[in-house]
Symmetry: C2
Subunit: 228 residues, 2 copies
Amino acid sequence: MKQDIYHKYEKHYVAVDCVIFGYENTELKVLVYPRGFEPSRGKWSLLGGFVNPDETLGDAARRILFNTTGLVNIFQQQVHAFSRPDRDPAGRVISVAYYALIRINQQDTELVREHGAQWWPVSNLPDLIFDHREMIDKALLRLQERAETELIGPELLGDVFTLTNLKKLYEAIFQRDIDAGNFRKKVLSLGALHNTGEKDKSESKKGAYLYQLIPDQGLKVGLVPTNP
Amino acid sequence: MKQDIYHKYEKHYVAVDCVIFGYENTELKVLVYPRGFEPSRGKWSLLGGFVNPDETLGDAARRILFNTTGLVNIFQQQVHAFSRPDRDPAGRVISVAYYALIRINQQDTELVREHGAQWWPVSNLPDLIFDHREMIDKALLRLQERAETELIGPELLGDVFTLTNLKKLYEAIFQRDIDAGNFRKKVLSLGALHNTGEKDKSESKKGAYLYQLIPDQGLKVGLVPTNP
DNA sequence: CCAAAAGTGTTGCTTGTACACCCATGT
DNA sequence: ACATGGGTGTACAAGCAACACTTTTGG
C-alpha cells in the first residue's frame, strides 16, 4: 500500500442521516425510530449510519434505506452536511443528511417494525436527537424546491394516481390549500401526464381518471399558487 | 478522556473546497491556483484544505478564505459534499464544496499572488483537478438560485452601485442578456434599494444614480426574465 | 333526488416582454 | 450636434387567482 501523504491531518467520523418521506392519509410523514444505542438511547432519531471507506455518501444512504425499509432504487437527494463539533455528544461526527421518497405501502413492514421505526407527520414531529429536526426542516425545503420544478408523484403515490391524489400530495408537501381547478389545469398544461383511461372510483361516485407520469418531460415551474 | 464508542467505525479525511466568485469587467470569475503539492502538483485547483477537529465545515471554509485572500466576514454557502472514494487518487477524502462571494478589489493581492492564485472567467475555465469542475458548476447553480431570490449586489459589487452595474452583474451570473428597462423596473419595485442621490459619472456622461441595498428586505422573486 | 367529488369555463387582475422614446451631458 | 448610456412609458400577451358552473353516479 502506498504511503498516506495526508497522514498529518485528522480524520473524522462521517455519517449519513436519512430523512425518509412517505405520504399517507393526506399527510406527509417522516420515518423515525427510537435510537438503540448510546448516547440518547431511546430518543427519536432519523435513520442513519456511518460511511464505509469504499462507498460514496449516496451509497451509504442507499444502504441504510435498504436495511431499514427493504427498498432499492429509491429517489434520494443530498440535503446538507452538518458539522457542529459538539452535535453528537459522544464524539466528533460529521453527518450528511439525505432525503428519500418512498411509498409507505411498499416498505417491508417486518423490517420497519423490527427497528421500531414509526411514521410521524411533518406537521407534528416528536422531539428528535441532536440536529435531526434541523435536518428534516432543510430536507422539506429541498423537497418543496423539487416539487416546484419536477412534478413529484410516482415516488410517493405510485405509478398511477388521480389529479385529486396529486393535489392532496402537493397540499401536504407545501402545507397549504390549493385551488382544485387551477391546479388541474396547470398540471395538465405541462403535458407530462398521460390519461390511462382507467378510473378510480374509490374516492368518489363519479370516479376520477388515473394518470401516469410521462418520463423525461423536462422542467416545470410554478405548480403551487403563491397566495391562496 | 471518555472512551470512543464509535471506535469500530472508520474515520475519513474531510476537506473543504472553496469556489470563490468575484466579479470584474462584466465577467463572473473564480479564483483557482496551481496546486502546490502532490498529487497533481501544478494543476489548477480550487482553494481547499482539511477540516480540523474543533471547527465546523463553515469555519474551515472561512479559514481557507482568510488564509488565501485575507478577507473576513465574507458571504459563503455550502454547496454539496463530494465523496467518490477515488476522487482524490492519494486517498479517501470527502470534500464539501462551499462558494463565497468577494469583491476582487478588496482582496489582499499580496496574499493572492503568494499563492499563485488567478481569476478565471466561469465561461472559460481551465482544466481542474479531481471533481473541482463539477463543484464550480454546482456552485454556480446555487449562486443563480440565490440571485433569483435575494438580490445579490453588495457582496460582489460593493456597498453602492448603479442599476447598470447590477444588471451587468446579473447578466454575468446568468450568462444571458437582460432587458435594461424591465430589469430596472423590477428591481426598484422590490423596494430593497435606496437611491443615495449620488451619481456615478465614470460610465456615462449623464451619470447614473448610486444605490444602496436596504438590509433585511425579505425574499424577492423572478429577477431574471425567462426567455429574452 | 341529492350529496360529493370530478371536471370545465369565465372573469379580472397582475406580471412579463418587447420596444419605442425622452433625458442629460462630455466631447 | 450627436453619440452614449440613463431612465420612462406603453401596449400587448401570458399567467394567475378566484369562483361559478356543469357532470356523474351511488345511496
